[in-house]
């Protein structure tokens, strides 16, 4: 993955608009958050292969980015994205990593279901 370049990601998002796409969306602070800090809470959410069609997409931010997708019936967004990649299968992978390279949030869009 590479550091997000906003123009490139915006174009990639638009290339996937108005199509049936599959979404992977997750955020997590890890299963050990509370184990290592009794004041912390384990929080996470995960959906894989949600099929949607979005009509509008925007990436906004500076250094750390937000991506919002306006779908036919609602919205999808992710915050804290830092890196991106169009992989060899043409899937748009975006993720946010902390200073130690650990994944905090991921939003991925594909025209075929994720494995």
């Amino acid at each position: 993955m590479e550091t997000i370049q906003i123009d490139h990601v915006q174009k990639a998002l638009e290339d996937l608009a108005h199509k049936d796409v599959y979404i992977h969306l997750e955020t997590t602070n890890g299963a050990y958050a509370r184990h290592f800090d009794s004041n912390a809470y384990n929080v996470g959410a995960f959906i894989r292969n949600a099929q949607v069609k979005y009509t509008q997409a925007k990436i906004i931010g500076h250094e750390s980015y937000r991506v919002g997708l306006k779908t036919q019936l609602g919205w999808i967004y992710a915050e804290g994205l830092t890196d991106w990649e169009l992989d060899d299968q043409g899937r748009l992978l975006m993720a946010g990593h902390d200073n130690e390279g650990r994944l905090m949030v991921a939003l991925e869009i594909s025209e075929t279901p994720f494995k």
């Binding site: 993955m1 997590t28 299963a31 184990h35 993720a95 390279g101 994944l103 905090m104 991925e108 494995k115």
Partner: protein
């Protein structure tokens, strides 16, 4: 019944951090060891340090790391094919039934798994519970001993002293090699160890955790 040890843990690297010293000791005595690994750690947060994996490449990377670690430990590997973080939502009876079948094939004398309710990560708890259920479902005459690994902070308070405490100092280098085989996961943590000029002298909590492998004997 000859001796054979079955390790039942959910993530690639659980075996390395949790019981690889014990595994190496068994292998030195020529006792066969089979690792039933529940998932490929698909949902791991560590992507390498600096990161080289992404959510979609991580499973294949961790599979290779797991195979490397098992080569390092000289043990058999069976991958169970569940998905990381979803194990607790599977039908526990189905998981246990599948495990029971696999155990009956190798007729182990000992099973090492996580102590359900004392294993911190939901996959650890679920894998341990299914493993213990699988052994419970076995014919009593064929039932192996079970050593359960507890890692909660309050385990001594609630469970008492562990029945088995193994000092794996003599196998520490091999244990480190097994941990380092899981490059995407271990790099960050191990760098701290490697950077230390006096690895042997460190009395850090981390080193103590790695030096002593503790287990509770499960009573049925």
């Amino acid at each position: 019944m000859g001796q054979h040890v079955a390790i039942i843990l959910p993530h690639p690297d659980d075996e390395a951090f949790g019981c690889s010293g014990t595994i190496l000791e068994f292998r030195e005595k020529d006792i066969p060891v089979t690792y039933f690994c529940g998932t490929l750690g698909e949902m791991g947060r560590n992507m390498g340090s600096p990161f080289f994996a992404n959510r979609e490449t991580l499973p294949e990377i961790r599979k290779e790391e797991l195979q490397d670690a098992c080569k390092e430990l000289d043990i058999n590997l069976e991958m169970l094919g569940y998905r990381d973080k979803t194990l607790e939502f599977e039908d526990r009876n189905e998981v246990a039934k599948d495990l029971k079948q696999r155990l009956e094939e190798i007729e182990p004398s000992l099973v090492i798994t996580f102590y359900p309710g004392h294993a911190v990560h939901p996959d650890h708890d679920a894998m341990g519970a299914a493993a213990i259920k699988a052994v419970e479902m076995m014919d009593e005459s064929k039932r192996p001993e079970v050593w359960a690994k507890a890692i909660t902070h309050n385990r001594r308070e609630l469970l008492g002293e562990p029945d088995i405490v193994r000092d794996v100092e003599d196998y520490f280098e091999g244990k480190m090699r097994a941990i380092e085989a899981h490059r995407s996961q271990a790099e960050g943590m191990m760098k701290q160890f490697r950077d230390s000029p006096n690895l042997k002298e460190i009395n850090s909590e981390g080193r103590k955790l790695l030096k002593y492998e503790e287990f509770y004997k499960w009573t049925f």
